[in-house]
Symmetry: C2
Subunit: 327 residues, 2 copies
């Protein structure tokens, strides 16, 4: 690989903007800050063989997802992503054109949300490929939507449909990238390969000015509900029949599996949150106006020891803490 060539080509993805004082090419990036805004920052790493396989994602999808994971975190704060930095560690087998294809996937998503590449590094690793993306964003001072804001009586809501990404992964694991697929199957595969970070919804929720607890669904509804319950010290009760699973998933995998995937599948990058019952109708209709599906899926039943319950046919059972809590 010609390292200088590679960097020159990566540089070509870095767009000009008046807020970027120093972009790629110096020791660090320098960007303007704004007096009435806080800085939001997050970093997420995806590793070959663990978080992605080349048998289920195109190279550009790998890049897309590496950035999407982080934009989803910014969405879950109600923020606006502005910049990203990429740290890529790769084994010698990786070719320059393959790395550029990964950058192209990041760029596809970045361009849609006006997020600018401002820096990073490319280093050698002994094995595999690892992509670590840092995203910097901004939000009006003290307006961040936190996991700890849930209160007794709140409505619990979720966006989109859940479990589709896990269903898409199933199809990819069995049929690979190129199997002939129905429209339904394509839809699920698309959610797995190019999930949409819910930035529009996150900002809509922030702009409502309501007290809202919010979390993104990277590890499945069960785990993310637990995070809300723990951060807010509340008991959350979900109602199974209200959990939004897609027609595609239920048709392809049956009802039981579709709900299981919604609860534990992860990587949907939808949002789950809570809002006061009195504010829910306004929030629901604001989302509807923007064409965003938002479902009431349960309620915060009491404050105190964190707990997540599932109500089904009038009976409540405890949902165990599962999945992995990222820091």
């Amino acid at each position: 690989m010609h390292e200088f060539d590679l960097i020159r080509q990566i540089d070509s993805f870095a767009a000009d903007h008046e807020d970027v004082k120093v972009g790629i090419g110096d020791d660090a990036a320098v960007t303007s800050s704004h007096a009435h805004k806080d800085v939001i920052s997050c970093v997420d790493t995806i590793c070959e063989g663990i978080h992605f396989k080349r048998s289920t994602l195109h190279l550009s999808d790998i890049g897309y997802k590496a950035l999407a994971v982080n934009l989803s975190d910014i969405a879950a704060m109600g923020g606006t992503p502005r910049y990203y930095l990429v740290s890529l560690a790769m084994s010698p087998e990786w070719k320059q054109e393959e790395i550029l294809e990964i950058y192209r996937g990041m760029n596809d998503l970045a361009e849609r949300y006006g997020v600018l590449l401002i820096g990073g590094d490319t280093v050698s690793a002994q094995h595999d490929l690892m992509i670590s993306v840092t995203v910097l964003g901004e939000i009006e001072k003290s307006r961040s939507l936190l996991r700890s804001s849930a209160r007794e009586g709140d409505v619990v809501f979720a966006s989109g449909t859940l479990g589709d990404s896990r269903g898409g992964l199933d199809l990819l694991l069995s049929g690979g990238l190129t199997a002939p697929r129905t429209e339904q199957e394509h839809a699920l595969v698309g959610v797995h390969q190019r999930p949409e970070p819910q930035l529009t919804l996150g900002q809509l929720l922030k702009e409502s000015g309501c007290r809202i607890a919010l979390n993104d669904i990277s590890d499945g509804l069960s785990s993310e509900s637990w995070e809300l319950a723990e951060a807010s010290r509340v008991c959350i009760c979900l109602e199974e029949e209200k959990i939004p699973v897609s027609e595609n998933a239920t048709k392809l995998f049956g009802n039981e599996t579709a709900y299981e995937y919604a609860l534990t599948g992860g990587e949907d990058f939808q949002l789950v949150g809570t809002v006061a019952k009195s504010d829910w109708p306004a929030i629901a209709s604001a989302a509807k106006e923007k064409g965003i599906r938002l479902s009431a899926i349960g309620s915060v039943t009491q404050e105190g020891a964190p707990q997540v319950l599932m109500q089904k046919n009038g009976e409540r059972t405890a949902i165990k803490r599962a999945g992995y809590r990222h820091q």
Copy 2:
């Protein structure tokens, strides 16, 4: 490994500060910005087997260096580091106590410079350990010291002594971590294991208000001089006898090797820069006052096609572009 335990213990390294609105434990960190300051950001990744080996660094040194590399980048901009985020990918062999020891090493350095841990993630990898550190800092608007500021007639300067880290690595590769060592040897090993990012000097240079080009020496003086020459489009002429090599290195490795290590060894994390000849005396004496060694090592001979020359015994020879340019 008990993941939740690990995260709880990592959380304990996150210090409180009024500028940290949201630290570890939500989707992203939220920090205050200041109207008269720009945000500086950088990310660097180090990989097991490539950038570090457990045979040459203690676990805490690995953490220390992962952060030091980034603080050095901030120093080379004249900035002040404020926050760091850590993304750690590790294979199953790594034990919780080992990971914590790495965090302790980061914390040792972070505490000295008041840099606060605000986020990150810990994920699984198939092989090895990889640490990606993002540092956010700040600098007064439009005061960043860039590589592109060198002009004809400038004095070229370097801080500290160069090549010591490479010398220390030699000793570690031959004798391992525990070989009995002389005081001289210990000094070199110490530079390799715990290099000091030149934050005090970087800020002193920025505060001088002079036009200064600056770069940190991560890849050896040769490569870093080339970066200055390319970014500024100038010819830099170094004078070998003025390059600061340590007495320890020359005694242990001989003159020729000591200079070679200074030029190509890397990981000294000293600074190399240029300043107008008329400003040099004031800069030199300001550094001396702070107890910082700063040496004039050459000059910018002309503007135009980038070039780096080495003058030795009255003769000038071209130094080839070597080393790896990080983005």
